[in-house]
Amino acid sequence: MNVLSEKINDLVTQAAGSRPDDLQTLANIHTQLQSLSALPATESLTELRSSSNRLEKLAEQIVLREVEDAEASLWQLTRGIAELQLLLTNDHPSLPITPSIAAAPATDPVSVSPPVAQPPTHTFCEDQILSPDDLPLVQDFVSESYTHISTAEASILRVEDNPADIEAINCIFRAFHTVKGVAGFLNLKQIGFLAHSSENLLDLARKGKIQLQGSTLDIVLAATDAMKELVARVAHAAQNQSPVVADPSVAALIDRVEACARGENSNAVNPLTQRVKENTSAPAAITPTAHTAESTIKVATDRLDNLINTVGELVIAQAMVAQDSSAILTGEPRIARNLSHMGKITRELQELSMSMRMVPIQGTFQKMARLVRDLAKKSGKEIDLALVGGDTELDRNLVEAITDPLVHMVRNSADHGVEMPDQREKNGKPRAGRVQLKAYHHSGSIVIEISDDGRGLNKEKLLKKAIAAGIVAEGAALSEADIFKLVFHAGLSTAEKVTDVSGRGVGMDVVKKNVESLRGKIDIASVEGQGATFTIRLPLTLAVIDGLVVKIGTARYILPILSVEQSLRPQADQLSSIQDRGEMVMVRDTLLPLYRLHRLFNVTPTTEDPTAALVVVVQDDTRRCCLLVDELIGQQQVVIKSLGDGVGKIAGVSGGAILGDGNVSLILDVAGIIDLASGSPIC
């Protein structure tokens, strides 16, 4: 009961502070009233329930501008809520309903606000002009709607697995409901109507009158898609300051949704199960949901980047102070202690700021869930998608960059990997194929695995195709891993027929390129007939690499540790040259070309003699070479920075990094250096 009175107290405060145009507050009030009216139907609460139900309707009408005098209705609402409080605090359940509540139009839930429920479909099918005053609101609306729609989508998939998942249905309902509220306020009619009719349908589902499955669920999903399209149109209009182009197909969809709500085309539920459902749904409705509990704010990414830069700078400045003062401080333990304390705080601050860019991969995974569902429907397969480790966090940029490759790979698994149900049965597997997406952290990198229990990769077929395409020489002995890697070759597809989903042989090579551009790696493991697993390994963030700092003369350069094999001081007998110019080093019985970095970069080295200097063996894919440097300074993690448009892209240099002393050091691009040194074309 305490929770309840707290809730109502909260409501009273909110209602007292609300204005007819404060949509956010009104929507909040509405949601809370909704949860109140869904309270368990015990006798003592009957009044409370019915009153909240009526108030909820009133709030909805205010939000949707369906009342003539918003001020007066709001006043009614506020008083009604105050009376709710009285009802509870007096513990007087039989308190008569006061006129103000009774005056609120009590409508049957199914036919809420008839003028909207049956809109004359053609009148709103026209282009709309956004008022310039609304533009900032529209932008908020667009971004929020996208969030709501994707939440709805995820919930729909959950409902598909478990049609009795009331919480998920509520979630979809809420999403449509919120979008409807704001769309109504912004006078976006098409979105409003679509959301409204879908909401009615979902309301029925919520009450257990219909079941969300099969074609009904498809209609809800179609409505979600249409909504996404409409919101995209609004976004486009807001960006170009052009009228919102109406989507003529929406009218038909609304008709379908309504037909479905009327019970045509939907699965009837018998009254008994309905009652059971209602009972199970009631407690679920008052448990607070995960979505409302979290409080977040949105921050522009460039501000965040600025913060991270500034904190990075603070770390450097702190390190410099510590270094400069270490000699003076030997007799001053107090200052030394304070300084080290400051160092600790600075590092914490840095970690914190870095973590702000991290987002869970769940959102991307959910997109895949939708993709797999559609693919399965289209191809007539049965596929269970398992998502593991959705809360694994990675850099925001990385999430965006990894989405496309993931789509390709999941498509591949679903389309090529998983067999048709009959085929699977014949092979002694369950009819439903299983595709698993798994993300986890492993030794400083993010691992994403896409595995399926389908037919796996056919080594012989792959090899035959590769030989036919001239990629591999006839009779070449390739290891298993090498054969699997052929998948990544452009123009090589083992699919016998090209579907509209995949099979053209483009795709996997793009995936590989994308993953490599993120400084990641991709591996394949497969057993024929039992499935395949693709493993993508990515660095935690795009912004940081492990580097080996080397020195040539006074200049310091950073070599990505991933491309460094080893370093050594060559003996005179390891060196040889051709025509006194082309130098080579014999490293473990392999002759590797020796490139003098100082010549490429035109800096003065401390020594020209390789036996007095060091050689770093580096590799790029299959090419290996030796780079001559003066000395190694050490290994350290550096934040990659662009050199800026001022100098643009330099061959052999991939970016810059700020070292501990605040100076900029260049990060070398091994592939570029090899191109440069071997004279192959670069630009």
Partner: protein, 176 residues
């Protein structure tokens, strides 16, 4: 990093109209650039050389976590190099680069002088020198009393051949 180490405070001469210019010196010549283009002025600091760039691009520096390129205006104008002194400054300007993108670049100057208000009436077009001196990037000659300030169109100074030249060695820019 030392910030805003000016030998004397910038003196601004406020007038009702006209534009404000930051004036600086290269040897005996006085130059000016529109104040709105100036982001900040910092003392000369160690610059990391970048290989395979035109000679006037001295390299890159760390400006509070952002890496920006630095151009030596003397080299750019084919004047002879001089020893860097305490007064040597890097003026960080924001210019409009290729495809209208804003970018920050540092320019090395011998000495920063002051901020001046120059009325349009006191600005004359740059004289023609034929092929000997390129005057394309000069907005005009500002007359202040008896002295003459060469007013630079800094966008043109830093972008014109630079970018055509850069385009040769540049692919796309590196994402961070």
């Amino acid at each position: 990093m030392s910030t805003a180490t000016l030998s004397k405070p910038i003196k601004s001469s406020a007038t009702t109209s006209g534009e404000k210019y930051l004036t600086f010196a290269l040897g005996n010549e006085e130059y000016g650039l529109e104040i709105l283009k100036v982001r900040e002025i910092i003392g000369y600091m160690e610059i990391t050389a970048v290989p395979r760039t035109p000679s006037h691009v001295k390299g890159v520096i760390n400006l509070r976590g952002q890496v920006i390129s630095v151009v030596d205006l003397r080299t750019k104008f084919q004047m002879k190099e001089v020893e860097k002194t305490e007064a040597t400054c890097i003026i960080v300007v924001e210019i409009t680069g290729i495809a209208g993108r804003k970018l920050s670049t540092g320019i090395i100057v011998d000495r920063v002088s002051e901020v001046l208000n120059i009325l349009p009436d006191n600005i004359e077009p740059a004289p023609e020198f034929g092929g000997a001196v390129n005057t394309d990037f000069i907005l005009g000659m500002g007359k202040i009393g008896k002295s003459v300030k060469i007013l630079l169109d800094i966008d043109k100074v830093l972008t014109r051949e630079e970018q055509t030249h850069l385009a040769e060695i540049t692919g796309e820019t590196q994402p961070v």
